[in-house]
Symmetry: C2
Subunit: 115 residues, 2 copies
DNA sequence: CGCCTTAGCAACCTTCTAGTTGCATATGCG
DNA sequence: CGCATATGCAACTAGAAGGTTGCTAAGGCG
């Protein structure tokens, strides 16, 4: 199971870092929010009233896509992007594990003090 | 409730982006993992066997600190860092909201098709 | 067909970011 | 006191990230 102890799951950590980084930008969070409405949207639609160029939006979408947060499919002359919530759920689990570990460690330390 | 529609909670989004970005780095994820063990650790300890300079680690810790993920307190000649899981829980909630919105939107769209 | 819309690609610019090195400080210890 | 340890601060570099502009290609529509 590759749980040898010294490994620490570096590959997994790299992946998580990628997804976190993809979400670490205000513009991209807006895009994710827009796409969370369910319906696939074209780049022009996603641009909306933003002051940014279409190209900038495209780049952000590529970043999200590389992180697996978004999928694109071309229909006619427009390419429509839709959200894939799977990586977000992975992050959620990751965060849960970390703060759970924190909580457990805390109570363990506390009981040490109390005894 | 400030739910006017055009605002979309930009300030909150900016904050979330900051925290996501802070976690969007492999080295910083390692630091968080190390600190999740509960006990406050010094910079030298946190550096461990990393091939990076102490300074690099320090900078990463500052980033985590700016995002509120970590607090530091100087004791004697060493400054000890400890984890603050609160921002991580905020992110967890944020992610839950988004994927929940996604799920609901999906079933809504699906029932439209089926009817 | 001719024109507008929606995109992709590439080059370029500017601003952060990750890391390094060098030097100055303060705390512990024998 | 004198030296090793543990940091902090500042200047600097290389490379990535966010954005822009210009040009080209392909799908829709009157």
């Amino acid at each position: 199971m590759s749980r040898a102890g010294s490994d620490t799951g570096a590959a997994k950590r790299r992946h998580h870092a990628t997804v976190f980084a993809a979400l670490g930008d205000e513009t991209r969070l807006s895009l994710v929010a827009a796409l969370s409405a369910g319906e696939p949207r074209s780049i022009a639609q996603l641009r909306g009233g933003a002051k940014m160029t279409r190209q900038a939006i495209t780049k952000h979408l590529r970043v999200l896509q590389s992180a697996g947060l978004v999928r694109s499919a071309r229909t006619g002359r427009e390419s429509r992007f839709e959200l894939d919530p799977a990586p977000m759920n992975e992050l959620k689990e990751y965060l849960s594990r970390v703060s759970q570990q924190w909580d457990q460690a805390l109570s363990r330390l506390k009981s040490l003090v109390e005894s």
